[in-house]
Amino acid sequence: MEIVAFLDDSHHAHIIGFISCSQFSHAKPIHFIVDSGSSTTTLLGDDVTRLGINCAGLQPAPVPCLTASGTTVTPYVLPDVDLLFTLRQRWFERRPDVTTFHFASLHCNPPPTQPVFIPEEGYLQTCSLLGMDFLSIFKTWAFKRRELILRT
C-alpha cells in the first residue's frame, strides 16, 4: 500500500483525504499535515467548524495533550471515524484505489469561542494533524522531488 503526500516549499507534507463519522453521513474533504510528532490524529478548530462537528456531545480525552507551543489542551474524542485516502495508482490500473481507514476515535480540538483575526494565530487552527496512530502503519518513508511516499 502506498500513499503519496505533497511536499510544499517549507517541506511540510500534505495529504488530502475525506472524513466521515456518525455526525454526518457522507464523506467530506479534509487537508492533513503529516505530523510524526503527534501521537493521535487530531482535527483542529477550522476543520471542526468547516465539517460542522458538534463538540457539545463529545467526551473529553482522558489524557490531556501537550502542544508544540508548550500549552496543554484537552481535546474531545470523536468516535467511529472513517478516513478515506486514494492510494497511488499503478500504471496498469485504470482507476485509483480508495481505501478507508477506520478509527475507533480521533481527537478533535474545539474551535475558539471567538473568531481569530490575528494573522499569525490563524495558522494555529488550520491543517489538521495526521498523527502516529495512522502513520505508524507505513514502514518506509521515501522522499522524491515534491513527494513523500509512504509505503506499508
Binding site: M1, F6, D8, D9, S10, H12, H14, I16, F18, H26, A27, K28, P29, H31, I33, D35, S36, G37, S38, T40, T41, G45, D46, T49, R50, G52, A68, L84, T86, R95, P96, D97, V98, T99, T100, F101, H102, F103, A104, S105, L106, P111, P115, V116, F117, P119, E120, G122, Y123, Q125, T126, L129, D133, F134, S136, I137
Partner: protein, 93 residues
Amino acid sequence: MTLVEIRKHTDHTFDRQLLQKYSRVRDDYFWILRNKETLRQKYANKYIAVQNKTVEFVADTIPQITWKIKQSGKQVEDYAIEYIGEHPVNFLF
C-alpha cells in the same frame, strides 16, 4: 492505537461519481498548495474557497466563509477551503 480496520474499495464497492468528486476537490487543494505564493499576493490573511481551480468565495474567518457558501445554495464540502497567511510560515510540531 485507535486505527482498527483498513478496507480497500474496488470498482464494485465505491461509487464512481463520488470518486470523481473526491478527485476534483483533491485537485483543488493541490492547486492551492502549488499556487500559494500567487494567491498570497491577492488574498493575504483571508480564507478562500476554491472550486475547479477558481477562487469563488473569500472571507476573514472560517465561520464567515462557510456561511457565504451555504447562503449561495452550495455545499461546503464541494470546496477546497484554505487559510492564506500573509507570509510563509514553518510549523514547529
